[in-house]
Amino acid sequence: MNPLLRRLRHDLFATPADGLITLALLGVIGAGASSFLRWAFSQARWAVIQANSTLFAVGRYPIDQQWRLWLLTALLAAATGITWGMLRSHPRPDRGGTLWPRNDRIAVGLLVALSLLLPWMLGLSPSVQLRWLAITAVLVLLRWLAGRFGPLLPGPFKRLLPLGLPLLYLIGMVLIGGGLGLASVSPSEWGGLLLTLLQSSFAILLCFPLGVLLALGRRSELPLLRWGSVLYIEFIRGAPLITLLFLGQNMLGFLLPGGLAPERVWRAAWVLTLFAAAYLAEAVRSGLAAVPRGQLEAARSLGMSMPQAFASVVLPQAMRVALPSMVGQFISLLQDTTLLSLIGLMELLGTARTVMANPAFLGRNAEVYFTLAVLFWCCCAALGLGSRALERRLDPAAIARSG
């Protein structure tokens, strides 16, 4: 028998029951796919996405200030390119030391294809299409430059380079919100993907140190620290996020002296941060539990102080173990930003609601939700992929192999 046929038979038609299941599933898949394609190509009216693409991207951000967001996007692309290139420039024997491993070639190909295709599908004007292409070109060019000439840079400069990333975040905040001579744009005018990404990146960055402190507190031998951390973590984890957001919107005004309560967008950002910290603490705690006691004792007996021993011996190992669950938390944090629409913020889902309330696009729910779902799916899946790649890189066995 033909090996392919034998393989098919073994995989799909091993027993009569298996055969029935296969046929039934094929029927379901076929019916689902055909009705989806019919919907997507003949019934769906994608004009609702094309006409509102700017709204979905940045909300009601003033049009005459949008150049700041373009500049920020270009800066982000440049930073991504440089980081990517620098990471690849380290000689890695398991990759044969090539500057462009296969996955990178695929990624660049995808990026270029997306930057050509997406703006065209969204019906953006030719000049905007060109802008996206230029941004992608900057990314790829810097990726090449950093990979090729990065190793030739002087050592101190290379060590200082990572500091550029937090600096970039601060620059981004100024570009978005204004200040330092730029006209201020109030947070109530931020929206769409911009607000979603701002909220989730803010919460991810700030919940990290908080979560580590809480995890250390929970494992501390000092009763006050331990019980304080336990109380906080369990309280936060016992409440649905929506009730905490509700608390933030309705009670923060009472808890702070009059006029000191932050803007609604910032209130939500802080609630998200404090919420995520409790969950992150549990992830870090499981990582800490996986580090043998002997590591701390060895570090201490070498004369390291307690903070030194934690910072340079225990935490790095704990972080590696906790990485998958931490990224899992970040993914759910990104998804949880959709809850902000329930308290009236204009993040992606909130923007979608206003778009669908527009009489011109009434009843176009399916198109809008489908687009958002694809967007979220891609972001979350990318985070998951990145986490798995990082896991492989940090795996002690792989590090030992590459010397």
Binding site: L349, A373, F376
Partner: protein, 340 residues
């Protein structure tokens, strides 16, 4: 021969200079705790004093009298009878009963579907195995709220009414609700039927409830499938081989050999998933189902009693989580291995 004290260099002994008190190992813990405790205390005192001052200024100082005032709003679908003239506490209670209804039905449905999916991911059928993977990856990477509004606005609200409604054996899905067969008066089995163009059945669920339940079950079952998969994967391969060499079929092996062992790993994971399902049920407000949170929101809008409403909400959800945890811990003790 031991080393005498005098033969060691001074620096090793640290003799001479006495250890300053702030580096004394018995003092440091108290210093740290004192500092942290003081900070927390000052912060709490600051927040509380503001709260009391602001509440006094607004005339909303903590009181529970408003709970017995008439609510003045209606709840569309309740098990506990409720009218607009009933007091607020009864409205909140009706909301809680609705929440419990979603949580209990959701738990059952998600456990069933999740277990089936988790088992299917070990099937010999490649198509089935990969399809469960795709399902899990798709569902887990899309926000639950987005899925809920999709089920409600796109699927359930576009169901046809009357004779065009989707008729399955024993169940009719229409825009006016989901009609499910059951026992009518006199223990007579009755399916859904049309009366003057309107569907009638012993059991009717609103589309809001249906959408919420579908969304929650679809979402949670993906996570439960992963828990079940992890539990089954934790059972050594030799167990499968031993069972099949004894002549047990795939289903028999799974049911009588693998699952009882896998349950030990599965139950703690299920606990986490059940608690998140209970918390996620608060997203009912997005599809217009009146659960506890949605009633509480309306109550706050009418009374302005932010502190009390938030306390009720947090307390109730905490109690619900604790209750689920207690149940699952009991179950966990049952399935744990007992060695004589």
């Amino acid at each position: 021969m031991g080393v005498t004290r005098s033969s060691l260099p001074r620096s090793v002994l640290g003799a001479g200079a006495p250890v300053p008190w702030w580096r004394n190992r018995r003092v440091i813990p108290w210093l740290v705790q004192g500092a942290v405790g003081l900070t927390v205390l000052v912060l709490v005192a600051f927040l509380l004093s503001n709260l009391i001052r602001n509440l006094t200024a607004a005339g909303l100082l903590l009181s529970w009298g408003w709970l017995s005032q008439p609510a003045g709003f209606d709840i569309a679908e309740t098990i506990l009878p409720f009218q607009a003239s009933d007091p607020y506490w009864r409205g909140l209670l009706a909301g809680l009963v609705n929440t419990l209804r979603v949580v209990v039905t959701g738990l059952l449905g998600a456990t069933l579907l999740g277990t089936l999916l988790g088992m299917a991911s070990f099937s010999g059928n490649v198509l089935l195995r990969n399809l469960t993977r795709v399902y899990v990856e798709v569902v887990r990477n899309i926000p639950l709220l987005l899925q809920l509004v999709f089920w409600y606005f796109v699927v359930f609200l576009s169901l046809p009414n009357g004779t065009a409604a989707i008729q399955l054996p024993g169940v009719v899905l229409a825009k006016s609700g989901l009609y499910i067969a059951g026992f009518a008066e006199g223990l007579r089995w009755m399916g859904p039927h049309l009366v003057n163009g309107v569907w009638q059945a012993p059991l009717r669920w609103s589309v809001e409830f249906g959408a919420l339940l579908t969304g929650l079950i679809a979402y949670s079952s993906a996570f439960i499938a992963e828990v079940v998969r992890g539990g089954i994967a934790a059972v050594p391969k030799g167990q499968w081989e031993a069972a099949s060499s004894l002549g047990l079929s795939w289903i028999q092996t799974l049911r009588q050999v693998v699952l009882p062992q896998a349950l030990r790993v599965i139950v703690p994971g299920l606990n986490t998933q059940y608690i998140s399902l209970a918390k996620n049920s608060s997203l009912a407000v997005a599809v217009g189902f009146s659960d506890l949170y949605s009633v509480a929101e309306t109550t706050l809008n009418q009374t302005g009693r932010a502190v009390e409403v938030v306390l009720v909400l947090l307390g109730t959800y905490l109690a619900l989580d604790l209750f689920i945890s207690l149940l699952m811990n009991g179950l966990n003790r049952l399935v744990q291995i007992r060695e004589r």
